[in-house]
């Protein structure tokens, strides 16, 4: 399963290359002009045209990707506006834009709409299971081949399942197919559009689109600006998944981040330790009140899902705050004037950060990686720099699927039995299951439901850099070298 979570994608290569060029432009003596030239530097006169019809279209798409890199909405940006003007606007922006995703219509191929299609492999057989299975009378045999009447077809796909020749195919639109809540659809113009009323910022469309047409609006310029301002203290808050991302030790990674210009680095695992204890205490309290089950509440994608699509789940979702919340609270208490930057594996944390005044900006792991490239920092050659506060093994393991439930279980008193149920990635089926648990007020499989929007947990986030297997191995080494949150005697008081 986990092996295919993050296959290599040329679209990631393009997005990362633009980020490196943007960062170098910012650090140069002429940010605006260097930004304007990015599409021309990447596709100079006479350059080969690897992906599109002509060099002009390639440049147009690279220009739009740069717009997203500058943190603007591509949909709302006029095509005639120069990148140099947009770079200037990014510099004068006071706070990041609300919705974290933006779609490039120039890169969106406008895939054919999702439908059922009879291929040439149809043998016009005698059994005709397709005709017999279709509940809508949409299939008839014309000239010895099955034909689907689009007016009657409901796209159920039953005919495709029963065809003995596998001659009937379901044509999918990758972004629509990946979205668990129907928030991204092809508009009337045939191009993908995101309905932000429905969108839970899970990032699955970003990973799914083979044309790389869905972009995160980067906040890299905002962060670079804060770092450049000598009067500002800028503090990085690094989520646990980060320690599986780059080929170096956690202590070297801290030093590498300091080299970017950050004044200090906090592990978000520090907040996770508070989440674990608070959530365990809450679990005990809820069971004693006679409640049947509780779900975790640290995944931002899941929280958006409950708020927007499964309000009936709210009473069962833990009221405990996320590790990011507690970490940011600690940082702002210790450094009230600091600018805080959360290092995230996914899009969803951008939404959570926008709602939390203690988190100023979010960078994803692709952006952090691009920054290291832009400055020529070799993480594996950095000195080691230790964290002021050590976090527990359980907290550092939050990024691994099942890790949160395991942490809560570790601190529960022995007489309170927890039976974890793990939702390993949100999809249409797991959302149906969650709705069922909420409606029935119980879950027959257990009483502590951990929900992770991404398959594999945070290590499977859309903006991770490392492949899943090596990331898991590296993070697990770190977890195994850390102390447990409790000794037997220190379990949460009943």
């Amino acid at each position: 399963m986990a092996m295919n979570i993050s296959p290599q994608r040329q679209t990631s290569h393009l997005k990362r290359e633009i980020l490196v060029r943007l960062i170098r432009a910012f650090l140069s003596d002429n940010f605006e002009e260097k930004t304007r030239l990015i599409p021309y530097d990447m596709r100079p006169k006479g350059h080969e045209v690897p992906y599109r019809c002509c060099i002009y279209k390639e440049r147009a798409i690279l220009r739009d990707r740069t717009v997203a890199g500058l943190g603007h909405s591509i949909e709302e940006t006029d095509d005639s506006e120069l990148l140099s003007n947009l770079a200037e606007k990014a510099l004068s922006r006071k706070e990041p834009e609300q919705n974290p995703l933006t779609v490039l219509t120039t890169a969106c191929k406008g895939c054919v709409p999702a439908r059922i299609y009879v291929t040439d492999l149809c043998q016009g057989c005698v059994a005709r299971p397709c005709v017999n299975t279709c509940k809508f009378g949409a299939i008839s045999v014309i000239n010895g081949k099955s034909v689907i009447d689009p007016a009657k077809c409901k796209n159920c796909g039953m005919c495709a399942q029963v065809c003995p020749y596998q001659a009937i195919q379901k044509i999918i639109v990758p972004c629509e197919n990946a979205c668990p809540v129907g928030a991204i659809t092809k508009g009337d113009d045939g191009y993908a559009q995101i309905d932000f009323e429905k969108c839970i910022s899970c990032g699955k469309c970003v990973a799914a689109c083979p044309f790389g047409a869905v972009h995160e609006k980067s906040q890299i310029i905002d962060v670079l600006k804060s770092i450049k301002d000598d009067k500002k203290q800028v503090i990085a808050m690094v989520a646990p998944a980060m320690f599986g991302q780059l080929p170096c030790t956690p202590a070297q990674l801290k030093q590498a981040i300091m080299k970017l210009g950050f004044d200090d680095v906090y592990e978000v695992a520090q907040g996770a330790d508070i989440t674990t204890k608070t959530e365990a205490a809450e679990f005990v309290e809820r069971l004693e009140k006679g409640e049947e089950f509780m779900t975790t509440s640290c995944c931002a994608g899941y929280n958006e899902l409950v708020d927007k699509h499964i309000p009936e789940m709210k009473p069962f979702r833990s009221d405990t705050k996320t590790p990011m919340y507690y970490t940011a609270e600690i940082v702002k208490k210790e450094h009230p004037d600091a600018v805080t930057v959360f290092f995230s594996p996914c899009v969803a944390k951008r939404r959570e950060a926008l709602k939390n005044p203690n988190v100023d900006y979010v960078l994803n792991y692709e952006e952090v990686g691009a920054w290291f490239i832009a400055l020529g920092i070799q993480v594996a050659e950095c000195d080691e720099s230790s964290f002021k506060t050590e976090s527990s093994a359980e907290a550092r393991n939050y990024a691994v699927i099942g890790g949160v439930a395991k942490a809560v279980q570790t601190v529960l008193p022995e007489e309170i039995p927890a039976h974890p149920v793990i939702i390993d990635g949100l999809n249409k089926q797991s959302i149906r299951d969650l709705k069922k648990y909420a409606k029935n007020g119980m879950c027959e499989l257990g009483n502590l439901i951990e929900v992770m929007s991404c398959q594999g947990g945070c290590l499977g986030g859309n903006a991770t850099v490392n492949a899943y297997k090596p990331a898991l191995k590296q993070l697990t080494n770190y977890v195994n070298s850390s102390d447990s949150i409790v000794k037997e005697a220190q379990k949460v008081e009943k």
Partner: protein, 87 residues
Amino acid sequence: MAEKVSVKVCLGTTCFVMGSANLQELIEMVPKKYGEKVDVSGVPCLGLCSIDWEFSKAPYVKVDDEVIKEATVEKVLKAIDEKLAAK
């Protein structure tokens, strides 16, 4: 016995971020496929990314003396096959 083919997957920061993270599977896959005939390892920065804007051609893999730009698993396996055929 013929000389071994050497495969060096660059795991420097630039190559790693630009895609060699996904080439790590070669380190397991190549010995299974070619046995003793090929030596494969992940190596620290080969220094190929630092010249001008060459980062954009990362990740790099060296198969014997040949440098593969924008390396993918397929490109590397093809290069190994060619080297083995020539030996």
